[in-house]
Each structure stands twice: as structure tokens, then as C-alpha cells.
């Protein structure tokens, strides 16, 4: 019999190319084929309940992504040919890109590896296909981000060795260890960590400010990357929500396990995003919104509605969300003053905010900025003007879990550090907070192995005992070019020459601004 309709409709195509690729094994046991599916204790009774909201097939996926790539690279070319870097708001902005390229783009690559791995581990075909597509998205994002920012590498310092630095530089162990923690978990925890807690609950706090920040500061290459990634991100967020609802609906025993993962990964994500808080408030010369405002909209309101929705499954909001909500008034300021004092060991520059920026912060942080943080900058400006630009020459204590220096303060006591410590099997461990200490207590075997940059330097594993050798040789940070204060840096001088100003007069006026 002749087949009349050779062309399959989308639904049939989807069925053939995804669900029909899965079959019931007869030669091997299912648990041998998917050996990682059981050990976390998550019970799945019926994989066919998995919904695929996008019903995207691989061939449609390739076509769609190729179309986006074509447009994206046309814009990158135009940006480069027109010397787009000359039209940004100010060269200080490029420091946000340095942080992104060394801190976030390698995470996209780690996500690619993570999704490739877990995509192999689910016996449900729908989940496998969703993970496979997200793996390819993440690889694409890592590549396109590097291409979007590579033009800047020709004109500014600190962008030359991002993946190498990601594996070594002290503060980059914060994002790196975050993803290593997720990737070494089982497949269900990985999805709860990355698809749900990060992509669904927190990702808007990274991408919206970052891409709007690029737009506000004239960086068309990065904005265009943002648009090109947006439809992927929407798919990732939908996967995140689908994952959590699917797991919770499958069995009531899954609820306490998922709750513990949500508590953990909300907090780990929040600590990771502290880097974004300072980027938003300090590194964008033209500001989009404050970190506190972003947190209110994207976490307190959206997250509030989400957890209300999840209540019916027996899920409550993350355990330490009150601490995170309170920290919105302090976070970016505590982070920036930390990076300011350790700028000798970063691949980007720091600076004292200008007078009008401080006034903006007073307005955005009426209860905290003038009281706790403006005096810091006034003091630092005075010191810098007297030729004593402050650097902290002693290494900081790091948190055993999040690996951020233990710089955070107690809720309701903003001058007291929220340090915790405990002894586990005869060894002492230190934490930035009760929440990180809790995470350690749940899985101490994991965190006793943490590669803490400060301790590694002291053990002599970073090519030298002094900071200068470590920075130059082990981090590949070019001393005097990539690091230290922005004012008077080669980037600053280069920017002034682009804008046709002499560097002396500008440094003077900037100093006065700061003072």
C-alpha cells in the first residue's frame, strides 16, 4: 500500500524521534543500564508521566539554533568592524565582562558536561532528550559568550586566559566548586540544583541584570548574545519546573529529599550570586537596578509565588531565605570592599564609586549605605588620595563550603561576621554562615576535600609562597596590567586616549570625584 502522507506532522515526528527511541531492554536489566538512577533514594513509578512542554525534535532544534547563530555572528562581525568597544559607556564596564568570562562562561561549559552526563542516566526518554538539548545549549552559550567578548580581548587587559584562570584563581573557585558540587551529585540532585534552583529560581538574577546591563552600557555584542540565549533559557526554566513537579508527584518519599536539596542549592546559588550583586551595583557605570531591587522582584516576589505554588506538594521555602532577604541591603557593598582590598590578585580592576554613584546607592539602600558603607569609601578615597591605596596584604579565611572569604555578617548585626566552625573527625572547619555549616554537616565527606585556594597557596601547591609569584605564574594574571586599581591602569589610560583625553587631568578629576 502506498503511503499517502510521507511528511510527518510535528507531533508524530516528536514521537518517533524521542519516545520511540526508547525501548524496554530484554538482554540487560534496566538498573544495570541506568546505574545512577536509584541511589539517591528518589522513587519514580511512571516515567511516561513526564511532560515535554516544548516537543522539540532534534532536527527542528538544529535548524532553529543554526538560524540564531547566523544572525548572532553577523552582529559580532559588525560590532568588531565598527570598533564597538569604543561606544561603551566607560571602560570600567569591561571589568564586568572579565568577571563574567572567567566566572560564568566556564560554568556554561560545566553545565554542558553535567547535562550530557545526567542525560545518559535517566531511564525516561523525555528527560533524556530534554537534558541532551540543554547540554548542547550550554555548550553553545559557552562558545558564543567567548566569541561575544573576544573582541574586547584585543583592546583591554584581563580577558586573555579565562578558562585557565577559572581552575586556579582564588575567587573563581567559588563558581567552580559550585558546579563541581552539582556535577558530582546524582542525576536527580543535579537537576534540582541546576535546572530548578539555579535556572528556574535564581537565573533571572544573573541574566536579566547582565544583559540589561550590557544594553545600558552600549555593549551590543553581549546584548545580542543575551537575545540569542533567551529562548534557550526559557526552555531551561521550563525544564526546571517540570523536573521538580515530576519528582514530587511521583512519590511522597521524594518530598523530604527534594526539600533538603532545595535548601542546599538555594543557598549555594545565593552565595554564588553575591558576585553578581557587586557587578550590578558597582561594575556597571550605567546602572540598571540595584541588587536589592532585583532580589525583591526576582526572588521575593517571583520565588514567593513559586513556593506558594509548591506548598501543595509539601515543599516550604528554602530554609535560609530570611537570611538572604535581609542580606540584600548589604551584600554588594561587602563584596565590593572585599574585591577592592584584594585587587592585587584579580584579573579585573576595582575602584571607589564616584560621588553620583554613591548618591544613587544612598537612594537605593537608604537604611544601610550611608550608615555602614559610605564611610568606608570616604576613608578609602582619603587613603588613595594620600598615595596609600589600600590593599589587604594578608590572605583571608575562606568558607569550607562556598569558598567565599568569610566576609558576611549576621542577620540584624551588620558589623559582626557570621562565622561558624566545627570539628569533624579531629579536623577543624570554618564557615561563612549557619547555612554553609549545615550543608557541610549533611555531607562532610564531600567538603573535607575542598580545594581551598588560600590553603593551597600555603601548602606550596601554587608555584610560589608569595602572592606576587602565585598571581603571575600560577594565575597568569599580568601584574600591573590586569590587576590593581582601575584609576591609572593601562585600561584606564587606553580608554582616555580613545576618548581623546589626557590621562593626568582625568586621574585628577576622578580623584576629586572620589574624595
Amino acid at each position: 500500500m502506498a503511503v499517502k502522507n510521507k511528511k510527518l506532522n510535528l507531533k508524530d515526528k516528536y514521537q518517533y524521534l524521542t519516545r520511540d527511541m526508547a525501548w524496554e531492554p530484554s538482554y540487560q536489566k534496566k538498573e544495570d543500564i541506568y546505574p545512577d538512577e536509584q541511589f539517591e533514594g528518589i522513587k519514580i513509578t511512571d516515567w511516561s508521566q513526564w511532560e515535554d512542554p516544548f516537543r522539540l525534535t532534534m532536527d527542528a532544534y538544529w535548524k532553529y539554533q543554526a538560524e540564531k547563530e547566523k544572525k548572532l555572528y553577523a552582529i559580532f562581525d559588525a560590532f568588531a568592524q565598527n570598533n564597538g568597544h569604543q561606544n561603551i559607556s566607560d571602560a570600567r564596564y569591561v571589568n564586568a565582562l572579565k568577571l563574567f568570562l572567567s566566572g560564568v562562561s566556564p560554568l556554561e561549559h560545566a553545565a554542558f558536561q553535567g547535562y550530557s552526563k545526567v542525560g545518559r542516566q535517566f531511564s525516561g526518554a523525555g528527560a533524556r532528550v530534554a537534558c541532551q538539548m540543554q547540554a548542547i545549549d550550554e555548550l553553545r552559550h559557552s562558545q558564543t559568550q567567548q566569541h561575544a567578548m573576544s573582541h574586547y580581548n584585543k583592546h583591554f587587559n584581563g580577558l586573555h586566559d579565562a578558562p585557565y584562570m577559572h581552575d586556579r584563581v582564588w575567587f573563581l573557585s567559588v563558581p567552580k566548586s559550585f558546579f563541581d558540587d552539582a556535577r558530582t551529585a546524582g542525576p536527580f540532585e543535579f537537576l534540582t540544583a541546576i535546572s530548578f534552583s539555579f535556572e528556574y529560581v535564581l537565573t533571572n538574577l544573573l541574566f536579566v541584570p547582565f544583559m540589561s546591563g550590557a544594553a545600558y552600557n552600549g555593549d551590543m555584542a553581549t546584548v545580542t548574545f543575551g537575545f540569542s540565549a533567551q529562548s534557550d533559557e526559557a526552555r531551561h526554566m521550563t525544564l526546571g519546573l517540570e523536573v521538580i513537579k515530576f519528582i514530587l508527584e511521583q512519590h511522597e518519599d521524594n518530598v523530604p529529599i527534594v526539600q533538603r536539596w532545595i535548601d542546599k542549592w538555594f543557598w549555594r546559588g545565593f552565595r554564588l550570586l553575591s558576585l553578581v550583586s557587586m557587578m550590578m551595583d558597582y561594575m556597571l557605570p550605567n546602572k540598571v537596578m540595584s541588587w536589592a531591587e532585583a532580589w525583591e522582584v526576582y526572588y521575593e516576589q517571583n520565588g514567593g509565588a513559586l513556593f506558594k505554588d509548591l506548598e501543595r506538594y509539601g515543599i516550604r521555602p528554602p530554609k535560609y531565605q530570611d537570611v538572604a532577604n535581609d542580606a540584600k541591603h548589604h551584600l554588594s557593598h561587602q563584596l565590593w570592599t572585599t574585591f577592592y582590598q584584594y585587587s592585587q590578585a584579580t584579573n579585573f580592576h576595582t575602584w571607589i564609586p564616584k560621588q553620583e554613584e554613591m548618591d544613587w546607592m544612598s537612594e537605593k539602600y537608604p537604611e544601610t549605605f550611608d550608615k555602614y558603607y559610605r564611610p568606608r569609601y570616604e576613608y578609602l578615597a582619603k587613603e588613595a588620595a594620600a598615595g596609600r591605596r589600600f590593599y589587604n596584604n594578608t590572605l583571608p579565611q575562606l568558607c569550607q563550603v562556598c569558598q567565599v572569604p568569610t566576609l558576611f555578617t549576621e542577620m540584624g548585626a551588620p558589623t559582626k561576621l557570621s562565622h561558624r566552625q566545627l570539628v569533624h573527625e579531629g579536623e577543624r572547619y570554618h564557615f561563612c554562615s549557619e547555612a554553609c555549616c549545615d550543608i557541610f554537616k549533611d555531607e562532610p565527606e564531600k567538603y573535607v576535600q575542598a580545594w581551598l585556594p588560600v590553603h593551597q597557596i600555603y601548602q606550596g601547591n601554587c608555584e610560589g609562597g608569595d602572592v606576587e609569584t602565585v598571581v603571575q605564574k600560577y594565575y597568569h594574571i599580568n601584574i600591573g596590567e590586569d590587576n590593581f586599581e582601575y584609576l591609572g591602569s593601562p585600561d584606564h589610560k587606553h580608554w582616555l586616549s580613545i576618548k581623546g583625553k589626557s590621562s593626568d587631568e582625568k586621574v585628577e578629576s576622578a580623584k576629586q570625584d572620589a574624595a
Binding site: 546505574p35 545512577d36 541511589f39 539517591e40 533514594g41 546524582g186 561587602q334 570592599t337 572585599t338 582590598q341 550608615k371 555602614y372 564611610p375 568606608r376 570616604e378 576613608y379 596609600r388 589600600f390 589587604n392 596584604n393 594578608t394 590572605l395 583571608p396 579565611q397 575562606l398 572569604p405 568569610t406 566576609l407 558589623t415 559582626k416 561576621l417 562565622h419 566552625q421 573527625e425 579536623e427 577543624r428 572547619y429 570554618h430 554537616k441 549533611d442 555531607e443 562532610p444 565527606e445 564531600k446 573535607v448 576535600q449 575542598a450 580545594w451 581551598l452 588560600v454 590553603h455 600555603y458 601548602q459 606550596g460
Partner: protein, 119 residues
């Protein structure tokens, strides 16, 4: 609790004292002086005296603070791992009970940092 894993999951702690070539780690927190964003992590000889630690390690670390010149650390209030502690300046760190990865907290009465903000 302990980690849920596919196999017997047991690893050596990365920061055991024997990895520090005869030295040990010590953390020092000077409350109300947040010019220094976090407690210091320093590498010390276990048999150095407490007095030498104050002179050679602590004082240079905090020198940039305007309160530094007025701080009398040997007459200050100390805590060792969150417990009250009276250091003996002439005894070694080890004999003072300061072991690897201990944390000292030193409060200097009357010196509360800058701007009334513990800075």
C-alpha cells in the same frame, strides 16, 4: 548525616596539618575592624611564641588600620575557638593550646573601628 554515594565514599581531608610542611594554619579575627573584610588566614610555626606571633604576624597584618597603633594586643580580650582564652606571651602557640586551623578572636576594648560602623 553522611553523603549518599554509589560506593564507599571516603577521602582524606585536603588540609591536614602534615600537608603544611611543619607549619600550621591560624585564623585571626579582630571584631569591629571590617576594613579587613574577613578573618586573616596565616601560616605559623607551632613553636613560635605567642608574643612573636603578635609582633611578627598580627601587627604587620593590621598595620593599615588607624586603630593599629593604639591596639594593645597582649592586654586585649582573647578567644580561642570561641572560648575565653588567656594567652601566655612567652609560651609557644602549641603550648598555648593553639592547634592547626584554630581561630583566635581578639577584642580591643575602646577600639571599635571607624565611623561608628565597626569598620
Amino acid at each position: 548525616m553522611s553523603v549518599n554515594a554509589l560506593y564507599d565514599y571516603k577521602f582524606e581531608p585536603k588540609d591536614k596539618v602534615e600537608n603544611f610542611h611543619g607549619m600550621q594554619l591560624l585564623y585571626v579575627y579582630w571584631p569591629n575592624h571590617l576594613l579587613f573584610c574577613a578573618p586573616f588566614a596565616v601560616l605559623v610555626q607551632p613553636d613560635m611564641t605567642f608574643g612573636a606571633f603578635v609582633e611578627d604576624i598580627l601587627k604587620p597584618a593590621i598595620a593599615a588600620h588607624p586603630d593599629a597603633a593604639r591596639a594593645n594586643f597582649l592586654g586585649a580580650e582573647w578567644q580561642l575557638n570561641d572560648e575565653p582564652f588567656t594567652p601566655d606571651a612567652n609560651a609557644s602557640l602549641k603550648d598555648n593550646g593553639i592547634d592547626h586551623k584554630s581561630m583566635l578572636t581578639v577584642t580591643t576594648p575602646g577600639l571599635n573601628g571607624m565611623a561608628n560602623a565597626g569598620y
